[in-house]
Amino acid sequence: MKHLAIIGGLVVVGLAVGVYRAKLGAQENEARIETLQGEIERASEEIAVLKAEEAYLTRPERIGPLARERLGLAPASPDQFTAVEMLSRRVGAEAAPVQQPTPGAAEQ
């Protein structure tokens, strides 16, 4: 009976230590989760701000004049398009002949 009581006591102490450690670990994990969630929230907010800034800075109303004044760009005109079958005509005599690969040549 006495042995049983001692073993029981030890088991209780062991369990108590286990519970304490588990609780401590859970608290630490909770704190870590809260920290990470805070970081995620802050990062999400920063991303949202950056996306809004990007959208604001790249809005057509702003980009159009900048592209025109600084880069000399303009809206695409139909003259700038061509069909694949027209390429040879557009390029004309300036078209460089396509060089056929030499059989057996090593691949670069």
């Binding site: 029981g8 088991v11 209780v12 369990l15 108590a16 286990g18 519970v19 588990a22 859970a26 909770e30 989760i33 809260e34 907010e45 920063e46 949202a48 701000v49 996306k51 809004a52 800034e53 990007e54 959208a55 604001y56 809005r59 057509p60 109303e61 159009g64 809206p75 695409a76 005109s77 139909p78 003259d79 398009f81 061509t82 069909a83 079958e85 027209m86 005509r89 557009r90």
Partner: protein, 555 residues
């Protein structure tokens, strides 16, 4: 000396016969408590986290979903905003605080703020509302005393005026009150993935920029424009002029408040003529070689229908001529062949007699004639006596561009072509024939100013006098141009409507000189962004390049 009595503990009062039972009861209770403690300890030790740990903190209110265009370009978003307040009683040097704050918030007025912060009898004053997290951090880094921050969410439209009327805006509590923000408030307020519209920001900007250009070229009261993808009904651009900036809804002028593209009703004039031609073709009342005499005005009851610009050979004109040169007399003759009943049924099939039914901001119901008699049929054939929204009318042109199918406007992606409800309202042959006539209208008729090189514009002008208290007013016009392009493989419908547009150059105030030219500019500018390749001549025809207006053999 008395010896100690070592056996005293064994002595019990002879009358305490419950003693052993009490001891057993106490021991049993202790054992039970012990067992419960051990059992619960074991359960906690060997099981996973308890229910409380999993529950976590109470969920916060969802951040309102972003709104993006079909390519994912941001149109509306919600940002954390902060309001900065101060307790003047806790501030030692008001001027220093004011100067420091002005260093990171340049919009602050230092003398005014100094005065505000010097009011030591007050415990609370607002310094600035709605600052960004970055500005808040900058203020925080100053380490000034007596300042407080209040967190809030703020709806931001980074494109400014872009699609302002369509997007609408929210109130101070973040609830949508107009436009898409209002129509989809429930879904947006739940947060989650960005809300993707069918809109193309590039095409939208092109349309809005050309409406601005219209105001530079003409004096006008207002305008509207729509671009619709004819394959699925997707609205690629929709604009109302004057535009609004949803970031500052309070700054809207009265003229800018209505969404003219969706909520204003217009009598749109001769852009109805292609519809009556299609009705006649469908009814078998119009053949390709039919000749009309439009030399004589038509009298219907007390009304007389005339052509304001008589045709060159009015004694013998085709349906193509009637459209190309916008003959009212010819349109009435065709309408008489169709008859009021069939005309009404056809316009009903096109969706012009009922409120547009689609998922999105509400659109106004049309004003239709109470009785559809011969006079009504005559006036409706050239676009008088019936008022619809520009969006509704643009949708009535969609069947011309997709082989004859009526579609509902589509505002939300994904625009799944397979899921689009289609109703065939005319045959592909009819649609093709009308597009061919509309192409001729641009190549040789009143729509010449709408031509966009390479994009084969096929369209119709409409000039309608505005109704006034004393009847129609010849000095106030609604001018419009409805088109499909490219004519040889139609993909899009474009409609431009201008309210009382008068060219500053002194040209006529008809659609040929106003709405047509704006529509052509819209198409030339938006088509590349909508992935429409210009139409090229065949290699045998000579120099490679886009097909131009002088080529009349395209259809």
């Amino acid at each position: 000396m008395t010896e100690p009595d070592f056996h005293a503990r064994d002595r019990r009062p002879s009358g305490d016969r419950w003693g052993p039972w009490r001891a057993r009861l106490v021991a049993g209770t202790l054992a039970l408590v012990f067992a419960v403690i051990v059992g619960r300890s074991a359960q906690i030790s060997f099981s996973g986290p308890g229910g409380n740990a999993a529950a976590g903190p109470a969920p916060e209110a969802a951040r309102r979903a972003d709104i993006v265009d079909r390519n994912g370009d941001l149109l509306a978003t919600s940002l954390a905003a902060w309001s900065l307040s101060a307790d003047p009683g806790a501030i030692w040097d008001a001027e220093e605080v004011a100067r420091s704050l002005a260093g990171v918030l340049p919009e602050l007025d230092v003398p005014e703020l100094t005065a505000k912060l010097s009011a030591r009898d007050r415990r609370f004053v607002w310094i600035v509302r709605g600052i960004t997290p970055r500005q808040k951090q900058a203020v925080f880094a100053l380490g000034l005393e007596g300042l407080r921050f209040e967190e809030d969410m703020r709806r931001v439209y980074p494109g400014g005026r872009l699609a302002g009327h369509l997007l609408g805006f929210t109130d101070i509590d973040g609830k949508g009150v107009e436009g898409v923000e209002n129509a989809f408030d429930d879904r947006l307020s739940k947060g989650g993935a960005p809300f993707r519209l069918t809109l193309d920001a590039g095409a939208q900007f092109a349309l809005e920029a050309e409406l601005d250009h219209a105001f530079e070229t003409f004096t006008m009261k207002g305008g509207a424009g729509v671009i619709v993808d004819a394959s699925n009904g997707a609205i690629r651009a929709i604009a109302s002029w004057p535009a609004i900036d949803p970031n500052r809804p309070g700054d809207r002028t009265d003229a800018a408040k209505p969404n003219r593209a969706m909520n204003s009703l217009f009598e749109l004039g001769s852009i109805y003529k292609p519809l009556i031609v299609a009705a006649a073709l469908e009814a078998g009342e119009l053949g390709p070689d039919d000749i009309f005499d439009v030399s004589t005005p038509i009298r219907i009851g007390s009304a007389t229908v005339r052509d304001s610009h008589p045709l060159d050979h009015p004694g013998a004109v085709t349906a193509t001529d009637i459209l190309a040169y916008s003959s009212n007399i010819g349109a009435v003759q065709i309408a008489q062949r169709v008859g009021p009943g069939r005309q009404k049924a056809f316009l009903s099939d096109l969706g012009l007699l009922t409120r547009p039914d689609f998922e999105g901001p509400g659109s106004a119901a049309p004003l239709t004639p109470a009785e559809w008699d011969k006079l009504t049929a005559a006036t409706v054939s050239y676009g008088h006596g019936i008022s619809v929204t520009p969006l509704a009318f643009a949708m009535s042109f969609v069947p011309f561009a997709n082989g004859g199918y009526r579609l509902q406007p589509l505002l939300l992606e994904p625009g799944d072509d397979a899921g689009v409800k289609r109703k065939q309202v005319m045959t592909a042959a009819t649609a093709e024939a009308v597009v061919s006539m509309l192409r001729q209208t641009v190549l040789t008729g009143t729509g010449a100013n709408a031509e966009a090189r390479g994009y084969e514009v096929a369209g119709k002008t409409g000039t309608a006098e505005k109704p006034g208290p004393d009847g129609y007013d010849p000095d106030r016009n609604i001018t419009s141009f409805a088109a499909v392009f490219p004519a040889s493989r139609p993909q899009f419908v474009v409609l431009v409507v201008l309210d009382e547009a008068v060219p500053r150059t002194g040209d006529a105030r008809t659609a040929a000189y106003t709405a047509a030219s704006i529509a052509g500019r819209v198409i030339a500018r938006a088509a590349p962004m909508l992935d429409v390749e210009p139409v090229f001549d065949a290699p045998a025809s000579g120099q490679a390049g886009p097909r131009v207006a002088s080529d009349s053999r395209t259809l």
